[in-house]
Amino acid sequence: MATTPVRLPHLPKHIWLKVGGWFEDRSHIYEGLLPIVQHPVPKTGKVGWWYVFGSATLTAFLIQVITGVALAMSFVPAPANAYDSLQYITHQAPFGWLLRGMHYFGASAMVVLITIHVLRIFLMGSYKFPREFNWLTGAFLLVLTASIAFTGQLLRWDQDGYWSVVVMAEQAGKTPVIGGLIAQLVVAGSTVGGPTLTRFFGIHVFLLPALIAGFILIHLWLVVFDGISEPPEPGVQVDPKTYKERYHAMLERDGVPFFPDAAWRDALFALCVVVAIMLLATIVGAPELGKPADPTIIQANPRPDWYFLWYFAVLSEIPPALEDWVILSVPVLIGILVIAVPFISNRGERHPARRPLAVFLVGGLLVSLVVLTLQGAAANWSPDISAASTARLPASVTSQATGQAAQGVQLFSEKGCITCHTVAGVGGKKGPDLTNVAGRLTREQLITRILNGGNNMPAFGGNITDQELQQLVAFLETLK
């Protein structure tokens, strides 16, 4: 690396050149950096646009560092003040709303961009020889990014953040034998409280950014040494015996300096990322905080940030019998699988057209993520708890219910039926839609279902009088 001759830019013989020359003579900045920023890279052409997501992720990380430093100047990481200090940042501090908005959308950008980057690397087989270690450091960066996104959520100290940590601790707590201890380690005490917030603050603000910066350094270091992968071509095989020779011959033949031949694309795309984040922060703004984290306010509807909704959906959809097994072993198995990727196949074809399995895996992953995220956002498995007291069935339904059935309408809300069942578009979606239930079930079947429950419905036998049952069934029978 250091053997590459230093190419000083051609500047006019000018006082600034003399100043610059002195500065360079004493600092060796050009001498040290030029060979790095001008390291030869393969000519990529238009495919080069696929190579911008790594530096874009780095840009998002830098936005997080910069806005994070600013936020940390006002944020108070104590449960008694955290929520209020964040409200102060959002609504009173000059530029506070913008900084918080940028930090929020910067986090989203970082998660999205690193995901695209990983998928691009996988699809183009860029992780193959000799870049296995870069895949590994990238995998760590992915985990660290998810961790920093998760720990940031708690710092808002609203109900979503608070209960997300409880859910996290409960998952860790499913470990056999030492589960309880691990859960206490996650929340840094016996319950989620003061020590939890300060610990998450320390991890989010100091530990994880330092680790991420360190891994980025190794990641880039390797890029400089082994070079970026050339655009894949169908039929061109990676063979560890010949690859390096072929790669260097190619660089000799038609390599170009990274700066500026490739870097301009990174700079342009990074600018787009920054503009997009600032536009979102300005126009949409960071979401308002939920209710403050307060264990005495039980009416919570905790949801993770949007990029974790897919996992929220997974947690409610795995069969209960498999759940503990899935929660504990699947993340570990995924980790092992990801680490194993470059060792399973570090040679052979790189072009996606010759790697149908890779394309199929990525396609399947993307479809699953989108479907699960949508399901997580809808969360139809959750009862609509507030519906019991607030929802009103539409007149088109209630007007047909007279006499006993009119009482049944009341009971439908009071007994909580409406929290799980929809009638004419109103109510929860956990159970079947009952808009036309009388067409499906006979009177006897309705009574049996209500009294005995089953199929994931509670039994109401112990909680309904004979008269109430008659009234409720009378109402349900009007739903044809």
Binding site: E170, S190, S316, W381, S382, G416, T419, N463
Partner: protein, 172 residues
């Protein structure tokens, strides 16, 4: 071994002195790391080393609860830090089953810990996260929870209902 690794470890030189000095340097550096690491690791695992004791907390007078009713009671954890604010509070569901019998349930769903809500008219606990539902007795009525609601130990002293606290309950 590549040449630069040999050079780093002093193996390229004749004589064992340089090799010895290389090992000493590595050894000292490792020792520095270990020494600095001890308090850090100790601090990280501190919550396990110094665990808060379980305490009996008063939930109210026996007469505050009507037989057959279930209601939310919050109390202040005596072990919480002074800056904990509202987080020093713990909530439990208290059910007076019979004149002298109380059930005290942790609010945490046994599935993944979200707070269950008591729907008085339906006489059910419902969880807002993944749809767990429990009967008034704490038994599972529907949804993914693997077991009944966690119960606190209860005692009645001097006409007061008291419950024994426990750390964040897990089903592991």
């Amino acid at each position: 071994m590549p040449k630069h690794l040999i050079r780093l470890h002093g193996l390229g030189e004749i004589g064992s002195r340089r090799r010895f000095l290389a090992n000493v340097t590595f050894g000292f550096s490792g020792l520095i790391g270990a020494l600095i690491g001890i308090p850090l690791v100790g601090y990280i695992f501190g919550p396990l080393i110094k665990q808060a004791p379980n305490t009996w907390e008063t939930l109210g007078k026996v007469d505050d609860f009507q037989v057959g009713d279930t209601k939310l009671v919050s109390f202040t954890d005596s072990s919480s830090v002074p800056w904990a604010g509202q987080a020093s509070q713990t909530s439990v569901w208290v059910r007076r089953k019979a004149p002298d019998q109380f059930d005290v349930f942790a609010v945490n769903c046994t599935h993944l810990g979200c707070p269950v809500n008591w729907i008085q008219s339906a006489r059910l606990f419902e969880c807002p996260c993944h749809g767990g539902i429990y009967y008034a007795s704490g038994d599972v009525a529907a949804g993914p929870p693997p077991r009944a609601l966690y119960r606190h130990q209860v005692r009645i002293q001097n006409g007061e209902v008291q419950a024994l606290t426990f750390p964040i309950p897990t089903s592991g």
